[in-house]
Amino acid sequence: MKTSQQFFYSKRFAIACFLIPAAVLFAVFILYPFVSSFLYSLYEWDGLTRIRFVGLQNFRTLLFGGQEICHRFWNAVEHNAFALVFVTSLQMCLGMSMALLLFQKLKGRRFFQTLFFLPVVLSVVIVGFLFNLLLHPIWGVFNQLIRLLGFTDFYFPWLGNPKTVLPVILLVSVWRWAGFSTMVFLAGLSGIPKSILEAADLDGAKGLTKLRTITLPLLVPQILIVLILTITGNLMMFDMVYALAGPAGEPHYSADVLGTLFYRTAFGGKYGLTDKGLGAAIAVIMLIIMGVISIVAVRALQSRRVEL
């Protein structure tokens, strides 16, 4: 009796009490969907009735099935991999360069800061609508300009050509998010003590050497944040593809990614035919890929981190 009373008045119990609301929210909104989607991936389920337990069959169909859905899956994986490399490298370089530029005491710095960040606050629907118009083959400004300048070889239906549609969507995505990484890097740059930079100057370190040996190592935490966000953002990519190429990444799945494939399979982008089990399996695979890549990236960078 005494011990239980002691427990109720202990600090540990109080702490546990304070954790309950968060734990409940976590359980309901993160843990439950997480576990249930994993369970769903083990069923054959057309979205209306859960037909039967099939074990890992859904995963086998996706990965090695050789059927239509398997082609779509690998096609989407390829696009995601391309997006990952393309967007991450471009966004990092662009964000870093813009941050370094803005860090110089230039005239109109504030103005450019706002300008670069502006696309981030635009809704993806607006961005999609805008670029659909700008890139339109008949009345789009972009093609009119190309025609005016006489580069007729580059007169493309940019969003209708299977070769250009994905790169164009990714470029729009970079355009939209570059401002965000710029801001994060800029904040990191402002956090670097002046004394260190001055000391480097005194030691005769110049331009690139200073950047490589002082600035970048001190920016590792910011680089990590941007990297993780870009990686997860690219693997979960859905909205931009949906806005510019529709739920099937048209034409003919040229811009299809795992996000849109998942959406179509689980919720039936077309004709209400769904397969919740297969859809959940795609989601689980996405999670695994994302987890592995993120952990590897974090580990690799963490070792380069410098403590001040």
Binding site: E68, P137, P157, G160, N161, P162, A248, P251, K270
Partner: protein
């Protein structure tokens, strides 16, 4: 204390008595008047249905029909959950073809129950049939047809009239293009709009309903030369599509046509209302996909939008059946067409809208919309596969033969008649 307790007891009795009386009252009323619940996925029709149903309620004063719509995307699961629980409405809207199949075990088979159904075209009824048993489970309410819209003013300006053969059609396209007019509004960015193009052009070349019957029975395949030829013929339209047509989506093609920038558009009957709303000055006519030679039949690919089914466990079977019979009558079909501007499946409906009327007339030569009616049952659906194939074909990366074999291969994954043969 004692007084209080007695008072409380009195209040409780009073409430109980009131409740009991009102329940008896409701039961009494219900015996006089039967209420049929009718579920739908079209909330946009909610204002109009009471008007359409008034004719029934005036002749059947003892039956009250309540129209209850749900959100389109949620409707299938709401309906199934309710039916599985042994409840569900008395009358319900049912999707066609593939979308109907899970519900059939809860539905009343209508063969022989409603004589008027015999007057409906087979193409309309096919959407309401069970796939396994071929039984009719619903009264089809709306049908859709696909054809070629043309701008009357542009045709008159260039002294052109409706073509009667495929070659004439191509000649018209060429003439318009030579005169600086964009002949076709259709683009390829949205695969399903290309599928519509194929369904307008194709039937005349693959052999319409005969081929449909053969391929759905597994007697032939999509690799049949006739089907490949239909794809080749569709590709002949490519030079007449808008510049950069692979970037032209469905909304763009509509805009090109109703803004009178393009002379023709291959599209479905559902566009009529929209075209008129967007541009009230637009004057347009419709013709069917032209046949190869003069005098041959000009087919219209068509499909059933949906049907009304009846719950087999309804508590008012007689009244529900009476209502179902009403749904097959002109008293329902006529106001349905007039007020909702949709093509009713009821035979004999006359239409005040000239364009809709054209579709009704052309639909006399209806043939099933092949990829929808025959192959939109399971994943990957024939529609999804041919849409991608057509995009590649118009893009120039697949030949018509390859599109056909791609479709055949994908259908063999689940289409039983194909599996048995091979």
């Amino acid at each position: 204390m004692k007084y209080e307790a007695r008072f409380t007891r009195f209040v409780v009795y009073l409430i109980a008595a009131t409740l009991a009386l009102s329940v008896i009252g409701i039961v009494g009323l219900a015996q006089e008047k039967v209420t049929l619940e009718m579920w739908s996925w079209r909330p946009e029709d909610a204002d109009v249905y009471p008007e359409i149903l008034a004719a029934f309620e005036s002749t059947h004063p003892n039956i009250d029909v309540v129209f209850k719509p749900f959100k389109n995307t949620e409707y299938p699961s709401v309906l199934l959950t309710s039916l599985e629980a042994g409840e569900g409405p008395d009358i319900m809207q049912l999707k066609s073809y593939g979308g109907l199949q899970v519900y059939t075990k809860y539905l009343k088979a209508l063969d022989g129950e409603i004589p008027a159904l015999e007057g409906f075209t087979e193409s309309a009824l096919s959407g309401a049939r069970g796939r396994e048993d071929n039984v009719i489970y619903g009264v089809p309410f709306a049908t859709q047809g696909l054809g070629i819209y043309y701008n009357t003013k542009i045709f008159e300006q260039h002294g052109i009239s409706e073509p009667s053969t495929w070659d004439e059609f191509l000649a018209i396209c060429q003439e318009l293009q030579d005169n600086g007019v964009m002949p076709l509004a259709n683009g390829g960015k949205d695969g399903w709009a290309l599928e519509v193009v194929f369904a307008v052009v194709g039937p005349a070349f693959y052999g319409a309903t005969d081929f449909y019957n053969a391929v759905t029975a597994g007697d032939t395949t999509f690799e049949d030369p006739a089907f490949v030829r239909a794809l080749e013929k569709t590709l002949e339209l490519k030079p007449y599509m808008p510049p950069g047509f692979m970037g032209v989506g469905y909304q763009d093609q509509r805009a090109l046509f109703y803004n009178e920038q393009a002379a023709m558009c291959l599209a479905g009957a559902w566009e009529i209302g929209g075209f008129k709303r967007e541009n009230p000055d637009l004057e347009f006519g419709i013709f069917a996909g032209p046949p190869e030679a003069e005098g041959e039949i000009a087919y219209v690919s068509s499909f059933t939008d949906g049907s009304y089914g009846m719950n087999k466990d309804t508590s008012h079977p007689a009244e529900a059946l009476e209502f179902m019979t009403f749904l097959t009558s002109l008293e329902f079909g006529q106001p349905f067409t007039d007020l909702l501007a949709q093509l009713s499946c009821v035979p004999g409906v006359v239409c005040s809208d000239p364009q809709l009327n054209t579709f009704i007339e052309l639909s006399a030569n209806a043939t099933p919309y092949i990829t929808l009616c025959g192959f939109r049952w399971e994943l990957p659906s024939g529609s999804v596969v041919i849409q991608g194939g057509l995009q590649e074909m118009f893009q120039g990366s697949l030949s018509p033969e390859e599109v056909a074999s791609q479709l055949q291969e994908a259908m063999e994954e689940w289409y039983k008649p194909f599996q048995n043969g091979s």
